[in-house]
Assembly symmetry: C2
Homo-oligomer: 148 residues x 2
DNA sequence: CCGGATCCGTTTCGATACTG
DNA sequence: CAGTATCGAAACGGATCCGG
């Protein structure tokens, strides 16, 4: 078979391993909210436009924690708060998020015009590496400055 | 709120629209098999290591067809065959696949060493654009040469 | 043989309600 | 604020069956 000798196919096969997180709607939306929205609290995630049911939310947050994408920290000042923060593994889904954004804006939102999607699209296309680095640095800053 | 003025967040929100395909394990695996394995027949997909149940397979093939990612063509020479082929929309999930591969090899298969993942990883990182173009061209060639 | 459809027990979803 | 409890509806997935 052709694919037996195809290095690309051989090393692609294992994508299945990560798909219980990266092939799931809710975990992707949570990661999006953390990376781009700097969300960190249970109720912040619940406010997202997609209206994740609280059961799904707690389930997926635990999954993300168990898989090492995020960490959970109980508030020290505000003892009733629980902070969910991205680990490296979680933040490194950013390039994938960018592709998700590019694909979605192209095939589902192109008609909305540049006022809605244009700026970030051209930014991502013309200077993808820098765009990713900036968003990533932003999150690292946010995390460092955050007083729990 | 910070995110209200964040163009990245505003245009990222709509990723949800595409997640019924791109946030689903089986559709992603089918797209992988088509893009990298040049699979095209029902039974070829069934042979994948992840063992997709035939019910899921037919369901997801129909979803991919309905969303415009692939087309379905009945065989003309071999009348009992049904060919599933990528449309542009399907092939353009390739950059996303590449990120999925990079992430998965990094976090789940790095210990396997370069013999398994190294070649394609460095290739993707150092010459990502060219790698994508090559895989894409390969599929276009395959599709053009295919006698149905 | 190929491309599914059908059946059926099990799991998951998701909406609403409720609680420490 | 950060979750559980509940419950009917939907989806899953393994096995089998079926028409061409």
């Amino acid at each position: 078979m052709e694919e037996e000798n195809n290095i690309a196919f051989r090393s692609l096969c294992p994508i299945a391993t990560g798909l219980d997180v990266l092939g799931d709607k809710w975990t992707l939306l949570i990661l999006r909210d953390m990376i781009f929205g700097h969300k960190k609290l249970f109720n912040e995630f619940k406010e997202s436009p997609e209206k994740v049911p609280s059961k799904m939310l707690s389930n997926r947050l635990r999954k993300l924690e168990n898989r090492g994408f995020i960490t959970r920290a109980k508030g020290k000042i505000n003892k009733k708060s629980v902070y969910y923060l991205l680990e490296d593994k979680g933040l490194e889904t950013l390039p994938l998020m960018v592709e998700l954004m590019l694909f979605t804006t192209k095939y589902y939102y192109d008609h909305l015009g540049d006022t809605y999607t244009g700026d970030v699209k051209t930014k991502m296309k013309t200077d993808r590496a820098n765009y990713i680095k900036n968003i990533s640095t932003n999150y690292a800053q946010f995390k460092k400055m955050l007083v729990i």
